[in-house]
């Protein structure tokens, strides 16, 4: 994929905020001393009066956003996923989630693809944490086009939204001219009859590549992009499971609590299906380049292919 254009979704986030900021006067952005990294810095430059740096105080930033929201502002708060969903979890739950305030959390540097910073900064639990909060929308976009569309959809949605962005540049899959983003609607990217691969975030493009390799082996995999972890597109998940039988989930997140768990929750109740969860097993990450870590945990096309092939071939 050397010739495919790549952009990190954190870049998309910053750019989308600037675009939205031009039209929406009530949009304000808060950061916690990471504006350069989260890319909210571009918003700060464009709209200095609507940007506030809270310093290294994520809990307070979350509470300030709640207060701003009660006064009619639409705050987007940003820091690394580790601190947005981890450090400030209880503030998100009690000051934002419980009163269902209109706060958007733009969490960047999610997953192991953060890379060199290592395990302390590689949040592989955020989807699980955020998915647990009643009324929270959880979105994990797969490319630049989808990420920018998701930011706009999050603004339009009334209520709390968690947006997950990455540090690693990833291929642009979608065509901006035709792409329509709808919260809670999965997107079938490739039809197939032998297995369904539900993927999210950077694992979507890798799953598409894996499907090509599988096709060479005579395995016809359906690939579905699940950009919204909550509310999950249950109808589509069940439909695909009934059509293909076996299901695979792929995410740059712990296999506990994220997309894999969400799909299993649905299928175990509505269409019991054998599911292979691909993600970070129950371990912490480590230092390395983002690409090396994606490879180490088998989240690249090669790793996905290597796990899906025997799973499809084994007797159920």
């Amino acid at each position: 994929m050397a010739d495919v254009k790549k952009i990190a979704t954190r870049e998309s986030y910053g750019n989308a905020l600037v675009e939205l900021g031009k039209e929406k006067a009530d949009l304000v952005v808060l950061d916690a001393d990471l504006a350069g990294a989260t890319k909210t810095g571009v918003f700060k430059k464009a709209f200095p009066d609507r940007f506030t740096d809270c310093g290294i105080a994520e809990a307070n930033m979350t509470g300030i956003a709640a207060g701003l929201a009660t006064c009619g502002k639409v705050p987007f708060i940003s820091t690394f996923a580790m601190f947005a969903a981890g450090r400030a979890y209880e503030q998100v739950r009690n000051s934002v989630g419980y009163p269902h305030l209109n706060v958007k959390i733009g969490a960047t540097h999610a997953g192991v693809s953060v890379g060199e910073d290592g395990a302390t900064h590689q949040c592989i639990e955020d989807l699980a944490l955020m998915r647990e909060i009643p009324g929270m929308v959880v979105i994990n976009p797969c490319d630049d086009v989808e990420a920018r569309a998701a930011v706009k959809a999050a603004y339009e949605h009334v209520g709390p939204v968690y947006l997950r962005f990455g540090r690693l540049p990833i291929p642009i899959l979608n065509d901006e001219a035709t792409y329509k983003f709808e919260i809670g609607k999965g997107v079938v990217l490739k039809e197939g009859k032998d297995v369904t691969i539900f993927a999210t975030g950077l694992c979507v493009s890798e799953s598409l590549e894996a499907a090509k390799k599988l096709a060479e082996e005579g395995i016809d995999a359906k690939v579905v992009n699940i950009h919204t972890i909550k509310p999950l597109d249950e109808e589509l998940v069940v439909k695909c499971a009934l059509e293909t039988g076996k299901v695979v989930t792929v995410e740059e997140h712990s296999i506990i609590g994220g997309l894999g768990s969400a799909v299993c929750d649905t299928l175990s109740e509505k269409a019991p299906t054998k599911v292979l969860r691909i993600g970070v097993p129950d371990v912490f990450g480590e230092s390395g380049t983002g690409a090396e870590l994606v490879h180490k945990f088998g989240l690249d096309a090669q790793g996905i292919y290597a796990k899906v092939k025997p799973f499809v071939k084994e007797n159920s």
Binding site: A59, N60, G63, G67, C71
Partner: protein, 273 residues
Amino acid sequence: MENLELKRIANEVRKGIVTAVHSGKSGHPGGSLSAADMLTYLYFEELNVDPKNPKKADRDRFVLSKGHISPGLYSTLAQKGFFPVEDLKTFRHLGSYLQGHPDMKHIPGVDMTTGSLGQGLSAAVGMALAGKMDKKDYRTYALCGDGEIEEGQIWEASMFAGFHKLDNLVLIVDNNNLQIDGPIDEVCSPYPIDKKFEAFNFHVINIDGHDFDQIRAAFKEARQTKGCPTAIIAKTIKGKGVSFMENQVAWHGTAPNDEQYAQAMKDLEKAGV
């Protein structure tokens, strides 16, 4: 409003507090009673709020950061006319809108959902910041407990408020000196409280939180203070007004039984002006 009238209302607020907690068989009377005079002053003299229009756009905001003294807030709101005093008897009952801790979604007059200590002040800071952004002249008030300020988030919020010169923000610390595990200076002392807020660039005023002259003067001084937020450190008596609850840590979060309730109401009837 004369002090005598404020005292009369505060006494009614205290009756509502013990009634709510007795009826709910659960709740926090001690800190509610210590803050009752300040809550009364806030809602009857200080805050620009309208019980007929609780969501009025440019109203003053109040955040009860120490949300567990919900009986104090609810009783004051009821006295002010936001909802019937009679409803206090449904406090903490299944299906009641009067939740254990303040719930802005269901309780008229509650500006922020609180209860998890340390979080309310940040929300108040956000409200004050919104006022500054929009060049509105409403003011924001937050009430914290002296035990609550052991939470680190209070100091994150204070650092921000001081740095951003939020002179439309007033923090009241209810310094009743008791937290669940004992006197605050025996658990994990936050003293000197005034010096700490001064260091965070607040204008600090020390008062007796049961003296309406001092309360009045402090809020006036806060209005006149420009360029920094104000912290009013109010020395109070936990359980104030109910003889057997005063300065007793056991009444932090305990409901009176029928006999104790009768005694408490007798004390308050006697104090009634």
